[in-house]
Amino acid sequence: MGKVFAFHGGIHPPENKKQSTRTPIRKAPLPKLLYLPLQQHIGMAASPLVNIGDRVLKGQMIAEPVGRISASLHAPTSGIIRSIGPHPVPHASGLESDCIVIESDGQDEWIEHQSIEDYTKLEPGTLIEHIRRCGIAGMGGAGFPTDVKLHLGDDHIVNTLIINAAECEPYITADDMLMRERAHEILGGIRIISHLLKPSHIMIGIEDNKSHAIHTLEQVLKGCELNIDIRVVPTKYPSGGERQLIKLLTDIEVPSGRIPADIGIVCQNIGTTTAIYRAVHHGEPLISRVVTVTGDAVAQPQNLEALIGTPFADLLDAANVYENKLYRLVMGGPMMGVTVEHDQIPVIKTTNCIIAATIDEMPPAPPEQACIRCGMCEQVCPAELLPQQLYWFSKGREFDKARHHNLFDCIECGACAYVCPSSIPLVQYYRFAKSEIRTEEAEQRKADHARQRFEARQARLEREEAEKEARRKARAEEAARAQQARKNNENAAATAEPAQDISALKTAAAVARTKLKKAQKALDAARESGEGDISALEAAVQAAQTSADQAQKALDSADKPSAPTAPAAGADIKQLKTAAAVARTKLKKARDALKNAEDKGLDGLDKLRATLSTLEQKAEEADKAFKDAENAASSSTEATPAAPVDMKALKQQVSIMRTKLKKAEAALEGLEGDERSQAEQALEELRQRHAEADQAFKAAEQAQIDAAAAQGVDLKQLKIDAAMARAAVTKLERALAKTEEEQERASLEAELVTARDKAEQLNKTLQQHEPA
């Protein structure tokens, strides 16, 4: 027998254990209805595998674990699933929780189950999985899924295995009786755990008030190959607390906020060892446990082997309860147990004791008196806290101070409340403070999250605003420059062609066009309705057309001469470009009209077609003029690099073309037949134009670059620009990835293309310049 150390504090409440150890463990009668809570363990609630009305066999899995820290659930007997839904469960809150209700058919028919022949030959993982499938969770009190603890060997070095047989709470004798009657099963279970964890040392911690159990264990352990020590510790509550028992047996303290495995120790309850034994050697899942039924309100206090899910009432009946004497029903021990409000609450995997107490046995606590700081609580606190201070802080809601006094190291053992001469329900105060702090923390986290989100949003809005502002400024500058250029141009034009009043001609042409349109409309309407003087209208249209043509011709003739002279006069390419664009627009409109007419099967198609071809000519002319001008401009730029070439506008042009092209392509897909071929033609044209624009742009750019090279370029600026362009691209890409709306996406895509181009161009430029 090894040395036993001591932990601080502790109390000696009346043991009341003798009553229930007089008779051996007896099987509880098979209950009619069993209530199986889906959550009997720490972690996630199990998820049901059965439906209402299913027949299940004894040992059949009826709920499977969800996630790593969870435990499965098995039918304790054969029967029919009656319902799955809320039912009162043994919990301090008194709330209901989801339960599977089985109506037993009385046959107690086992599902096929098999023991493991030789577990030592199995992979540890397989063996642990088997234990997990058997739904074993710690049977001492917390109900921690056992398989998780057995996996600990993977990332912790476990050198000590402690089997907790202290059973320090008064009244409870379930473990005591288990040791007296099933010591060989306990040893078998320890062997399995030892096989999995491979500890160098195994200790069984047991209080000295269980001499019979100690004796039995010693007998069984004789000649055992394992390094097992029975350590008899003095009877003192709460020596069975995991941390206290570790201190008692090893003199090591588990650091605050850590688990025993962090210091190489694993604790298992003695009841859990038998469950593991039965799971491995008999293939039986955890469907029953030993429950101490005791208290002054039962005639025959005893230990019953009860199926999980058995209502307390059945067990109380088996122990002959005096209904009229029953005052308080406690699940667990008198120090840490929870009261249950009625007897239909079921036995779960952690139910080690049911105390049916009379009012004399557990009278209501006397009224709370003032704390006189006598410090008796401090003397008994096993966690070496200052319960009196914690009480003041909890009561005064000084939670910061309570935390500073290690409130969260309190194990709620109740020793302080037990000795308090002022009958202060200290544990309640600590629970209150803990939950308040937890709530506060959760709220704090939520608030922090919200603040972060708000700040991020604010930053984004500011950034966007700044970008918008920058764009607006750029546009304004652009406009100012354009205005200046136009003025210059106008002056030039005025000097070149003083006689010609182009704007007057333009107006005349526009008026003529409008008239033509009106006439055309009237004609269409007349045709459709089949009324009116169609021929007269047709004549009117003809007349309007002629006049419009004339006006246009006059305008064109006035316009044309100015085109060749423009570059010579240092003219405005932009205007030409506009002219070309206008021509194109007209062309497009004409095409639309034509198409419309064709669709409707109207006559006058030939005329329209003719107009279209004229327009096409015009557009081409305008384009040509533009290009000529551009070429001239680019050649002049070469000569004088300082001359302002509007690269940006060009680029824009190119990108606009590209967008159009894309749109047209997209539109094309939706069309068929005649229309398709027409559209294809148009598309081809567009493509050409795009290519042209691109060329123009590139040429201009090349010119600029050359000029820059000739001048000695500001490489640094270029680099910065390139980097910025790249950044813009990534940003757009990101935005694109986030956006879901179709329209926004399209515009973003277009922007992205532009940005990419820009970035590429800049990069190229940079590369070109860099070698120099």
Binding site: R328, T339, Q369
Partner: protein, 351 residues
């Protein structure tokens, strides 16, 4: 079926504040007996008078504060306070001195701060200090031990003492029964060495035994409280040790000017303070470590006040000063909790 729902734990030790107070009262019996034997009926009369006043004041103030009378009166704390004050004041002190003292203790020092458990100062010591400062003549007229009065047991008769306290007897009468205490003698000895004083003073050479006996009686009561775990050893032992160490150092350095450690431990209110005054849980430091600091500081202060102060005994002042320091001591005397490598200090939180 509907049963009671309650939070754990479900069992309680048969223990109550009233029980604690009863045990304290029981522990004072040897001391009271010794005082009565050596100094006459005065002590007993004072105790009864003070207890009556205390209950009356407590009831009145509870009534004013609209608290349930029976519930609060039954805890017995008022009687303990009254008793501690009564054994501290001279047995022949006039009735009104006691009345003022009890009023100050119960009404001002205890209830004006919020009642039991809320008072920062030891009520009995607040009252004693106030009386000592306000009525120095009455408060320094301590009775001579009976051995100085002649053969047999010549203490003043019960009725005479009663009369003296309640003001119907001439001053001259009880002047014959009062005298300086050993601490007074040693404090006001002029230029004499300790040994010369000892030889000259009757109280020191013959009457000192009475004080020794009374101290021993208090000590017995203290052992009883320790045994019953009503108090812990931390404060009393550290106080006695600190006082003894101080006294030994100075006595060893200059025996002519300073009294020996045994004298310090066995006269005046040393033992009463160690086991009954500084162990008042409400106003002392909280943790075990804190109580060691608290007790030791009081021991040192008692020695300082006795040796160099204006008053022959300094228990009341020392205790009050340390009551003042107790919250501060609490900040720096948290125990090291299970699973922590170091004890927390200070206020915690952001500070």
């Amino acid at each position: 079926m509907s049963l009671i729902r309650m939070s754990s734990p479900h069992v309680y030790k048969a223990n109550s504040t009233a029980n604690v107070m009863r045990l304290v009262l029981l522990a004072t019996l040897p001391g009271i007996t010794a005082l009565t034997v050596f100094f006459g009926w005065g002590t007993l009369i004072q105790i009864v008078w003070a207890a009556l006043l205390a209950v009356a004041f407590e009831a009145a103030i509870l009534k004013l504060r609209r608290r349930p009378l029976g519930f609060y009166l039954s805890d017995g704390s008022a009687i303990v306070t009254a008793l501690l004050l009564a054994v501290a004041i001279p047995p022949f002190a006039p009735w009104w001195v006691t009345a003022v003292g009890v009023f100050v203790a119960i009404v001002i020092a205890k209830h004006l701060y919020g009642g039991l458990g809320q008072n920062p100062f030891n009520p009995a010591m607040v009252a004693y200090a106030l009386l000592l400062i306000s009525f120095p003549v009455e408060m320094t007229r301590w009775t001579s031990p009976f051995v100085l009065n002649g053969e047999g047991w010549p203490v003043a008769s019960f009725m005479d003492t009663l009369g003296a306290i309640f003001g119907s007897v001439e001053h001259i009468w009880y002047d014959s029964f009062t005298g300086a205490t050993p601490l007074d003698e040693l404090r006001h000895r002029g230029g004499l060495t300790t040994e010369e004083t000892w030889r000259q003073s009757l109280v020191l050479s013959q009457g000192i035994g009475a004080w020794h006996a009374v101290s021993a009686a208090w000590f017995m009561g203290g052992i009883f409280l320790l045994y019953r775990k009503i108090i812990t050893w931390h404060a009393p032992i550290s106080m006695l040790l600190a006082l003894a160490v101080c006294a030994t150092l100075f006595y060893g350095f200059d025996p002519d000017s300073y009294a020996d450690p045994f004298f310090h431990l066995s006269t005046g209110a040393t033992m009463l303070a160690a086991f009954f005054i500084i162990t008042d849980p409400v106003s002392s430091a909280t943790s075990n470590r804190g109580r060691i600091i608290f007790g030791a500081s009081i021991g040192v202060l008692i020695f300082i006040i006795r040796t160099w102060g204006n008053y022959p005994d300094g228990v009341a002042f020392a205790v009050l000063l340390l009551n003042l320091a107790a919250p501060f001591i609490d900040l720096y005397s948290q125990p090291r909790s299970y699973g922590h490598s170091r004890a927390n200090k200070g206020r915690g939180g952001k500070a």
